[in-house]
């Protein structure tokens, strides 16, 4: 009985830990809505931060429509929480992250 409880406890801890970390792996072309993106000359840091992510192949920043398109290399994936963190570190606010249907 005790063993069963320990296994159950460890299992729940792992599941809740993953959910808290937001470990959602993203692949293909993804669209990230970014708030605060109002000036092209200040987007350099955003591009630079996203370039640091392993697996990111191309970055397209659309200032007028306030989003970023990221293409993830074939066979690679990028963690959503890491993307959000890098956008915040660049001085902007990340919003919805979705699979780009046009990409």
């Amino acid at each position: 009985m005790n063993k069963l409880l320990i296994i159950l406890f460890i299992g729940l801890s792992v599941i809740s830990g993953r959910a808290q970390d937001g470990l959602i792996e993203l692949k293909g072309t993804i669209k990230i809505e970014v708030d605060g993106l109002s000036c092209p000359f200040c987007a350099y840091g955003l591009e630079k931060n996203l370039k640091k992510l392993e697996g990111v192949e191309t970055i397209k920043i659309d200032v007028e429509n306030a989003f970023v398109l990221l293409t993830i290399a074939e066979g690679k994936s990028v963690d959503e929480a890491t993307i959000r963190e890098n956008i915040k570190d660049a001085g902007f606010t990340p919003r919805a992250i979705t699979k780009d249907n046009d990409g």
Binding site: E33, D35, G36, L37, S38, C39, P40, F41, C42, A43, Y44, G45, E47, I61, D62, V63, E64, N65, A66, D89, A90, G91, F92, T93
Partner: protein, 263 residues
């Protein structure tokens, strides 16, 4: 006594000029500070030439500004100006002017789709490194501390900026209140990498306490951003109100400058 008065006058003139030329660094806009410490505004160097035409002198000031972002919310930096003064009837002088160090900390950020509203506090310390023992003096001869609040609402369609600061001057020079307002308007579609042409209209004011009074400039300007790492800008400050003594008033100040992103 005459020498002391002349030194005081030149010190005061330089104080007024440095305040008028304060644009430290982080434009756009051209003469007013901005609360956005990103891209060209936080990772580059800036330099500009200021040609100042006064009734009694011609002055050229070339500051170079080195900002450094500790984070996107916290910046430190330094400004070192080369100053050349050619007063009517006196020998001209040139050399290093008063060096400044500054720090900025963002206290507010509200982002929306293609817009942002940000505010920061800025603290500037001016060191009397410019020679102030000869006439004309290259520095004010005074330590100064300025505390400012800088706000900006920037969208892809326009930008509105405000900067308000109180400068505490030592060495018998009067304190002053700085007030700058700027409106920016992009002429080209906003895209990245940037290829921007921006127009600015600014009001740059300075109220000096005591008998000195107020100075207010109307400052139109134009700016071209050529790609990620290079910006060119030019503006002219024309006095709307100048309470300097007769014969010492400013005719205009012309600024031509560049900012280069290096980090």
């Amino acid at each position: 006594m005459i020498s002391v008065n002349k030194n005081y006058c030149f010190g005061l003139t330089l104080l007024l000029l440095f305040i008028a030329l304060k644009g430290h660094g982080q434009g756009p806009p051209i003469f007013t500070d901005t609360p956005i410490m990103l891209g060209l505004e936080g990772r580059g160097i800036r330099t500009f030439g200021n040609i100042v035409s006064k009734e009694n002198a011609n002055v050229y000031i070339q500051p170079i500004v080195f900002p450094y972002n500790i984070s996107t919310k916290w910046q430190i930096g330094a400004l070192a100006p080369f100053v050349s003064i050619a007063p009517d009837g006196l020998d001209s002088q040139s050399g290093l002017g008063d060096v400044r160090i500054f720090t900025k900390y963002q206290i507010y950020q509200k982002d929306g789709k293609a817009k942002t509203f940000r505010g920061l506090i800025k603290l500037t310390e001016t060191f009397p490194s410019g020679n102030s023992t000869e006439i004309p003096s290259l520095g004010t001869g005074a330590y100064q501390t300025t505390i400012s609040i800088v706000n900006g609402y920037v969208t892809t369609k326009y930008g509105v900026y405000g900067e308000f600061g109180y400068n505490i001057a030592g060495n018998g020079l009067p304190d002053n209140f700085i007030y700058n307002i700027a409106l920016g308007y992009p002429l080209l579609p906003q895209k990245y990498p940037p290829n921007q042409l921006n127009l600015f209209l600014e009001l740059n004011g300075n109220y000096v306490f005591g008998q000195i009074g107020n100075t207010l400039y109307l400052s139109p300007g134009i700016q071209y951003i050529a790609g990620r790492k290079l910006l060119f800008e030019s503006g002219i400050q024309m006095p709307l109100d100048d309470s300097a003594s007769e014969g010492q008033k400013t005719n205009y100040i012309l600024r031509i400058g560049t900012r280069i992103l290096i980090f």
